[in-house]
């Protein structure tokens, strides 16, 4: 892997596909030729608190409106967030990965947030898997926001030898008390992203949004971390902007030689535990045991 990666921190207009698409193209055109992959935030094409607008802005992957992005993906890989209408008609909170003029992969958010100020479970269908995107620029593990808060999400990408986690987010800004500095929500994210880089010895790219939707602000903090959790590029402040870093295999190799966490991981221990905790697995295991008595 040797990838010039850009994270775009944007401020989508709620429900305005046309304006947001323009904004995507503007950023893509600004870095084409000098970058290999650009990552946009969660629901970057639609805005976040869609509620009933979900149905109105949902797009199928073959929608003609995505053509300008597909065309540009001949020259630069593009990962962006949108409301995806599946062939079955369900709507997912998805991250599409475009490359060489085609859809190389789609991650459907597995862990929809439905608590506190969030209502995703009301508006979206939940994804069911974590799959690596095998790009010409590396093995990428796409995740959407809350996915990263559930340890098995990034762990699955870790087991499958991801070179980099691509985390798209729309995280509401909150927590302004002292001592700071800055937003508590953003500090928490930085801890989580850093821990992920260290635990999985991987590059981590985080594209998060800014702006306001009905009084809820978004905290930004987009960044690219190396496998030692050093920030290699960050978008400063609560403004739109781009940050770019070179994400390479050599650094991964060195980090993983130094601390070979994946080599020494013992997933079968987890498998045994899971069999006790997940009823279906437990049942299968019991049946298996009976058959082999």
């Amino acid at each position: 892997m040797d990838c010039r990666l850009v994270v775009a921190q944007t401020n989508p207009r709620l429900g305005d596909l046309g304006a947001n698409l323009e904004e995507h193209l503007r950023h893509v055109d600004a870095v084409v030729g000098s970058a290999d992959l650009i990552l946009f935030p969660e629901l970057s094409l639609t805005g976040y608190f869609l509620r009933d607008q979900v149905e109105e802005v949902a797009l199928r992957l073959d929608d003609a409106r995505l053509r300008p992005l597909l065309e540009r993906s001949q020259r630069i890989s593009i990962a962006f967030g949108f409301a995806e209408r599946s062939p079955e008609g369900r709507v997912y909170n998805s991250l599409a990965f475009l490359e060489d003029g085609r859809v190389l992969g789609v991650h459907r958010k597995v862990h929809l947030v439905t608590y506190g100020l969030f209502e995703e479970g009301r508006d979206f269908a939940a994804g069911e898997s974590f799959s690596i995107v095998e790009s010409r620029h590396g093995r990428f593990g796409p995740l959407i926001c809350e996915d990263l808060w559930h340890a098995p999400s990034a762990y699955t990408h870790f087991l499958n030898d991801a070179d980099a986690l691509l985390v798209a987010s729309a995280s509401p800004a909150r927590g302004v008390e002292t001592p700071g500095p800055g937003l508590a929500s953003q500090r928490t994210w930085n801890i989580l992203l850093s821990a992920s880089a260290l635990l999985y010895r991987t590059w981590v790219a985080y594209a998060s949004r800014v702006g306001w939707e009905d009084g809820i602000g978004f905290g930004g903090g987009s960044r690219i971390l190396d496998p030692y959790a050093n920030p290699r590029a960050t978008v400063e402040g609560l403004e739109s902007g781009l940050a770019q870093a070179r994400v390479d295999s050599a650094t991964l190799r060195r980090a993983r030689s130094e601390v070979p966490l994946r080599r020494d991981e013992k997933p079968w221990i987890l498998a045994t535990e899971l069999a006790r905790h997940v009823p279906l697995l437990a049942a299968l295991r019991a049946e298996h045991a009976l058959q082999h008595e």
Partner: protein, 273 residues
């Protein structure tokens, strides 16, 4: 130092950005607000001046004939310090046109009428000025229900609604507002000698500490008592919180159809296509 302390610079930055985006989202670039001479409206005026430039913030003085003259003096000091265009509308004729004619002398009813007269003026001027009415209610007042529904509680945007009174003070100092405005006892100035704390029967400092634990941190009654609050005080505040919920919601619509406004017809104000 207090658990309530905020990072005022960060809060000011967020609120200026909030005001700019939400006003722009309504297709406007200007705001209008009532300047009472108190700390809340002074803070909102200063934030609006930063967000839009002082020339785009119409400050309106809305005295009643029984208002404390110091209120108007302090309001002018704020408006002048910030360089805001100022309008003075004496609400006495419109208020008395109703109050005197109907013989209303109950202090609470009179107070509510004055607050609603001020709202009427601000909403009318918002059309002439082509600006959004910005509210000045803080989180302490809103939670305690210390406001008039459709009076001071009526506005398009509210930058202070998630800040306790203590935090408004911190923000006021950061924004460099006149000490006289910051130091004087909070008052709705709806009748002579009125102060918030005398009327409420407790100090904002105590209510803020309690509300933050009760609301923000979800402490139970027993946990609050264990943390040092009097049980009676906890219960009194909890009762106020519940009793005033009606002021914090939009009008309740009876659901009859398949899809009803407010129930399952749900869009943000910032709805765009």
């Amino acid at each position: 130092m207090s658990e309530l302390d905020i990072q005022p610079e960060l809060v000011a930055e967020l609120l200026v950005s909030f005001l700019r985006e939400e006003v722009a989202s309504a297709g406007l670039g200007r705001t209008v607000l009532g300047l009472s001479g108190g700390i809340d409206s002074a803070v909102v005026a200063a934030l609006c001046a930063r967000a839009f430039g002082p020339e785009n913030v119409l400050s309106v003085l809305l005295p009643y004939r029984l208002s404390n003259p110091e209120s108007e003096r302090d309001a002018r000091a704020v408006g002048e310090q910030l360089g805001l265009p100022m309008r003075r509308v004496d609400i006495s004729p419109m208020a008395d046109g109703y109050l005197a004619a109907q013989g209303v002398d109950d202090a609470r009813r009179r107070g509510n009428v004055l607050a609603r007269c001020r709202m009427t003026v601000l909403y009318d001027l918002s059309v002439e000025w082509r600006g959004l009415v910005v509210g000045t209610s803080n989180k302490s007042e809103i939670l305690l229900g210390y406001s008039t529904q459709w009076g001071d509680g009526a506005h398009a945007l509210n930058p202070l609604g998630d800040l306790y009174k203590h935090q408004v003070y911190e923000l006021a100092r950061h924004l460099g507002l006149p000490e006289g405005v910051i130091e004087k006892p909070p008052s709705a100035d709806l009748f002579e000698g009125q102060t918030d704390e005398a009327e409420l029967g407790f100090r904002y400092a105590d209510a803020d500490r309690l509300l933050q634990r009760m609301v923000d941190r979800r402490y139970s009654e027993d946990e609050l008592v264990a943390a040092g609050f009097e049980r009676d005080f906890v219960r009194a505040i909890a009762a106020r919180l519940v009793a005033n919920q009606f002021k914090r919601v939009t009008p309740v619509i009876a659901k009859l159809s398949r899809r009803s406004i407010g129930h399952d017809f749900r869009y943000l104000r910032d709805w765009k296509r």
